[in-house]
């Protein structure tokens, strides 16, 4: 993977100046490369990982939902996947091998909201054969970031 992407994947907010310095290219070259990646959809989105558990306010409920579906002639899983991932409640949608087909990450403000989504929107779809909903209890790590408090610095601050 291009070094520019490696660095951006770790820190999307790095300045063009710093990025250019790190990859030893001109600012212009870096800007053009980024534009190209954005256009091609290689850079899909810039987002912030928020450790919502640390917020004082109520945190949304997250559920992982396994969905068994009937694939359709010619298009396989793509059409039914599309019908499902278009729901705004669905944050992520993956096709998996194994005992079920689609895995969804669904967010709602409380358990009732997620339950309603499943019973009123997802389950009634004709291609959906069945669902299993797992509510998330605790996030330890997300996108490479550890959410639970760990002692950061184990080294002495000054040594020869």
């Amino acid at each position: 993977m291009d070094e520019i992407l490696e660095i951006l994947e770790e820190n999307a907010r790095i300045s063009i100046e710093d990025l250019a310095r790190l990859v030893k290219k001109s600012k212009r070259e870096v800007e053009e490369a980024i534009k190209k990646y954005e256009k091609k959809g290689i850079i899909a989105k810039y987002k912030t990982i928020i450790n919502k558990g640390r917020l004082k306010e109520e945190t949304p409920v997250v559920a992982l939902i396994e969905v068994r579906v009937t694939p359709q002639k010619d298009v396989g899983f793509d059409n039914i996947a599309q019908r499902i991932y278009r729901f705004s409640e669905v944050k992520s949608c993956y096709l998996l091998s194994g005992t079920y087909d689609l895995l969804l990450v669904v967010e709602g403000k409380d358990i009732q909201t997620v339950a309603r989504f499943v019973s009123e929107k997802l389950a009634p779809l004709s291609s959906v054969k069945g669902t299993t909903t797992h509510f998330m209890l605790k996030k330890y790590k997300e996108d490479g970031v550890i959410f639970v408090k760990e002692e950061k610095n184990k080294r002495l601050t000054i040594t020869y």
Partner: protein, 384 residues
Amino acid sequence: MISKRVEKIPPSGIREFFDLVLSKPNIISLGVGEPDFIAPWRVRERAITALEEGFTSYTSNKGLKILRRTIASYLKKKYGLSYNPENEILITVGVSQGLDLALRTIIDPQDKVVVVSPHYVAYPALVELNLGKVVFLETTSQEGFKVNSKELHRILKKEKPKAIILNYPSNPTGVTYSKEELKKIWSVLSKEDVVVISDEIYGEIVYREPHIPLASLKGAKSKVILLNGFSKGWAMTEFRIGYACGPKKIIEGMTKIHSFNMLCAPIISQIAGDEALKCRGEVDAMVKEYRRRRDFIVKELNRIGLATVKPEGAFYCFPSLKKYKMDSLEFAKRLLLEEKVAVVPGKAFGASYQGFIRISYANSLENLKEAIIRIERFLKNCGS
């Protein structure tokens, strides 16, 4: 109550400064002499399993045969070096112990030992503890902190030292040598009756050219003690595990002392070391990250007015304070108190290096960036 030889060792002039740093929470420290990574997962996992399997006994004084064999084949494959694992390799408790053993084995009281400066703090102290006499060979920033062959020749002729300690890539400068440069140094050393102790602990962390062990040069093996280990390359500092390779007679002598004062290196660490040599990939990833930081910090230090020789290895650089006419200890103290950034005063690495500081970039880019902002602000205040 205390022996003369111990009393004679001067207390480190910067101990007080170190205590000051250690008492301050929430500082950005560019003063750490070890990797900010942790040992590769495979190494940690192997150590845990070894403990579960009940490996809690002594090993042979020389160290586990399997580790000595792995080291031999690693050195052969990587550098073309041939050491017999039976009698030319000794597993030590880090390079520090290896160095002490080497000095004890080869020097008698009053024997002279050349130490290339700026130097790692332990070298002169260990020479003196072994009743040897230190002769400093000082390198200059003008010459990129590299050994000047003519000066080396002059000192060898004049002082007739028993041994010389080389260290490359160097702590504190990060400077290392190309094959051509090493050949030049070796052509001077080879003509004299001197044992070379080559501390190559940072040999895994090089940026431009592959590391060349001195012992791999033609004819060098019979006069060189190669010291290496896992602390820096594999981020395994607290496993305290290293090795010494050299001529059979010297290794035998070192093993004799080792068998009385250490018995053997800890078995868990030895097993972990064996595993480390099988996972080079993680070392490469760390080196890639160090290089990124090196490029950043050296360019920035030069930009803000601290002239810095570009290091080609280790994770240190050694900027000059010349422009600011400040003593390195005073500089470090004020920088710590005013901007909460810790660096090590150059004085620690030799009396002639008052005008330098050691910066360790074994720290996150984010911290390095913030440190540069603070140092730049500090320098502006100093200037006005």
